[in-house]
Structures are given as C-alpha cells and as structure tokens.
Amino acid sequence: MKMDFLLVLVILTNLRLLAAGRLGASIRVVALQGVLVGLVPVLAPEHGPGWRACVLAAGSVALKGWVIPWLLFRALREAEISREVEPYVGHVTSLLAGLAALGVAFWLNDRLPVLEGTSATLLAPTALFMILSGLLLLVSRRLAVSQVLGFIVLENGVFTFGAGVMPETSLLVEAGVLLDVFAAVFVMGIALFHISREFNHLDAGRLSELKDV
C-alpha cells in the first residue's frame, strides 16, 4: 500500500510536469520526483530494506533531489533566459497526451511477458509511463533546459524499472547508471551555459538554423 501511494505520487508529478508552465516549477517537480523515485529501492520487496538499497536510495535522493536541481537552477540563472517553458504542444494537450501515455503504459504492462509475476503491480506501468512522458517532454519542449528535464524523467523511469521490477539487476549497475546521469547532466549544464553565451538563447528549435556566416 505504501508503495502504491508512492507510485501514484510519482505518476502525479509526471502529469504536473507535463502541465507546468514555469521552468522553476518544473525543476522543483523533477527534484520531488527524484526524491520519490529514490525511495523505490527501499520499499521494493525484492531488495528489502537492506543497507545496499538504503545507500543507493540515499545517493539517488541526494543526487536527484538536491545536486541536479542546483545545477539546473544555476544554468537557468547564468543563461538569464525567460521563465516560461515555451512548449511546442500546449499544456492541456500535453496533459491529455500524458493520460494517453499512461493508458499505453497500463496496456503494455499487461502485454509484456517479461513483467509477469512482479509483486508491486503498479511499478512496471509507472516506470513505463515515466519513460514515455520523458520522451514526450523531450520532443515537445522548445528550451534546452526542459529537454534536460525530459532526459532526467526518462532516466527516473529506467531507474524505477531496474530497482523495482528486475530483482536480478544488481544495485551496483543502478549506482553506475546514477553516476552516468550525474555526469550527463553536469555536461549538459556546461553545454547549456555555452549555448546561451554563444547564441543568447536556449531555444533548441532555432539551433537547427545554424549556418556559417
């Protein structure tokens, strides 16, 4: 039951993210989602509350709830960009698309044979939904910062999938993935800074118009 509430909260953070209008709010929601997802390995029955799961959870919570948001807020401040998300697809439309993605996730959960016999039945659909909505955020947002957020949501989904659904995945692999994400967001933060310094904007749509002068 605790797990169910946690996962429903995770689903709600995803929907909130799809409907969010402000970048700062989006980053905070992603941080909250990181904290919630970090708690999954502790509550997942396969691992039990062993010390490895606890260390992984602590690392994940610290990284996604604190370090990465701090990096993103810094990038936001230095790039001095507007606070609006500037989506290609409107807020209400993306919210409805998110609901459709949730339906697809539940449907896939019934269809995929790999997932048979997972104990917490909400885990797999939540993870799939997070992957789908991460993709949605990646393709439907204009600003590079939002795309970083979409990437983090995508990774949260992969993390949940690994930590909760696949008991055979070693926690070491999870920790490695976590480290990769940290490095990736770190690099992306620097890239964001450089993009905004060179071109005075972070609009990914306009980056395709680059040509030699």
Binding site: M1, D4, F5, V8, I11, L12, L15, A19, G21, H91, V92, L95, L96, G98, L99, L102, G103, F106, T121, L122, P125
Partner: protein
C-alpha cells in the same frame, strides 16, 4: 425505502443556507472580522421572498421560468444523494448520470434566463459559465465513474454504501477522486479559485453576473438553488471521504453533518488563502481534475 430516507432531501433543503453562512463566517475569521450571523443567509432569503420582483420589458417567460426550474432541478437532485448509511428516497441503476444532468439542467435554464435579458454582460457570464462547466463535467462523471467501478454499483446510494466496505481497498484512487471532486465543487459553485462570489465587477464575474437582472423572490430562488447545489455536491465529497456506511444511522448522520460543516470551513479557508486564477489557467485546473479522475479510473481498472 424506509421512513428515514426522507431525511436526505429534508436536510438538504433545510440546512444548505447554513453552509453558506459557515463559509462566510470562516472567511470573516480569516480576515479578522466578526462576520455576520451564521443564519444570515436564511434572513437574506426571507427578506428576498417578501419582496416584489421587477422584470425588464425585453424579457420573456424564459427569464421568469429560469430560477424556478433551476431550483426544481436541484431539488430533484437532492432526492438522489444519500447521507451516510441513510439511503436516498430515489435510487436506481444509473442515477449518477441523472444527478449530473439535473445539475446540467439547472445551469442550462440559468444560462437561458441570462441570455433572455439581452444584456452584454450577462451573455459574457453565460458564455464563461458554460465554458467552465463543460470542463468540469468530465471530471465529475469520471470521478463518480471511479467510485461506481470500484463498488460495482450504478446508483449513488449503492455506490456510497459499497464504499464503506471497499473504501480502504481503493486507497490511492479514492484520494485522487477526492481531490478531483473538490476542484469540481469549487468550480461548479463559482468559488475561488475559479470564480469569486464576492466580486462586484461585471467583467470578471462568471456566475454572479448571470443573475444580475433577477430580483426579489427570483433572486431568492437563485441563491437558495446555489446553496442546495453546494450541499448536494459537497455531500458527494463527504460520502466518499468518511466511512459512513458503518455503525448506526444516527452516528453516520452526525458524522456526515459534521463533515459538511468541515467542508464548508475548508472551502472558506481555500477562499481566504487563495487568489482567483487567471481565466486562461482555469482550463488547466479543470482538465487537471479530469486527469486525476482518469488516473484513478485506470488504477481501478487494472
């Protein structure tokens, strides 16, 4: 049907103005004022019903029929909603759809009466009212659908009676339904953050501007109908929230009435601490409420 089931409509008709009084008192306390008496809405209604009515020459019978038909529609709706373990006098499979569309009928006649006046402001208010309720209706029906699906019952009385045994099993889905219903109640009753019942600028009003031309007894009917509507919609929340089906009828009735007063305090608190949302953000809020209910439905169907 036992003799107790006369209680839901009687309580709804008798106590609904008190709910408005409690909301006003809560807002007064938040603002540091003493506030009017809890029974002020009753005095107001009494005052309005003793007055005569003034009708514009441009209006037709539609304008006069609006308030009466609205009150009749919502009065019929009170026959469908149970209070705790006290079943409603009228219960049949699918009455939740009738319930939703009785409220729809009430809105429809109010809108027609507003359009009948030919006033530009009232037309604007009518357009916004329809717009808001078109967005709130899917959320209400989806939320009721979740409860119906979880309890395998299709009448409001059966649903809420079944909820007493099933409620805890539904867990997170029920929590989502509660939030969705609360947003629907705030939107349907023209409360902050969707509409401000205390505003007096026609350009920003939604519900209130529609009834500007009503006077005397007609205005009394409109206000009374709004109070009864708040009562029946609020009762949906209270019935979902509290495990009312258990225990004796008296105990569950007392809990339900306490719950209604609590809900009025909550609405008053929301009105005191929140500002009204910008008009363009309202669809996001209401679609969000629908999304919550849809998520709950998917959780339940799994």
């Amino acid at each position: 049907m036992n003799s107790l089931s006369i209680l839901p409509p009687v309580l709804a008709l008798g106590l609904s103005p008190l709910l408005i009084g409690v909301i006003q008192r809560t807002k007064a306390v938040f603002a540091g004022r003493k506030g009017p008496s809890l029974f002020q809405p009753y005095f107001d209604l009494w005052k309005l019903w003793r007055k005569g009515a003034v009708y514009s020459r441009t209006t037709t019978w539609v304008f006069r029929a609006g308030p009466v038909m609205g009150l009749a529609a919502v009065g019929t709706a009170t026959l469908l909603v149970p209070i705790g373990s006290v079943a409603a006098p009228l219960a049949f499979a699918g009455d939740l759809v009738l319930f939703a569309y009785l409220l729809g009928l009430m809105r429809f006649v109010t809108v027609l009466a507003a359009l009948d006046t030919g006033s530009a402001f009232e037309g604007m208010g009518a357009s916004r009212e329809v717009w808001v309720s078109a967005l709130a209706e899917p959320a209400l029906l989806l939320a009721l659908g979740v409860v119906a699906q979880g309890t395998n019952a299709l009448s409001l009385s059966g649903m809420f009676a079944g909820l007493a045994d099933q409620g805890l099993k539904m867990g997170p889905a029920l929590a989502l339904v509660l939030v969705a219903l609360l947003i629907v109640v705030l939107a349907e009753n023209a409360r902050i953050p969707v509409d401000d019942p205390a505003t007096h600028l026609e350009l920003t009003m939604i519900h209130e501007v529609m009834v500007l031309d009503h006077s005397g007894p007609d205005l009394g009917f409109v206000l009374y109908g709004a109070a009864v509507k708040l009562w029946v919609l609020g009762l949906l929340i209270v019935n979902t929230l509290l495990p009312l089906g258990t225990g004796s009828a008296t105990w569950s009735l007392a809990m339900a009435l306490g719950g209604m007063l609590g809900l009025a305090v909550v609405i008053g608190a929301i009105e005191s601490v929140m500002a009204r949302l910008r008009l363009v953000v309202i669809p996001q809020l209401l679609v969000g409420a629908g999304a919550l209910a849809a998520v709950a439905l998917m959780l339940g169907m799994r």
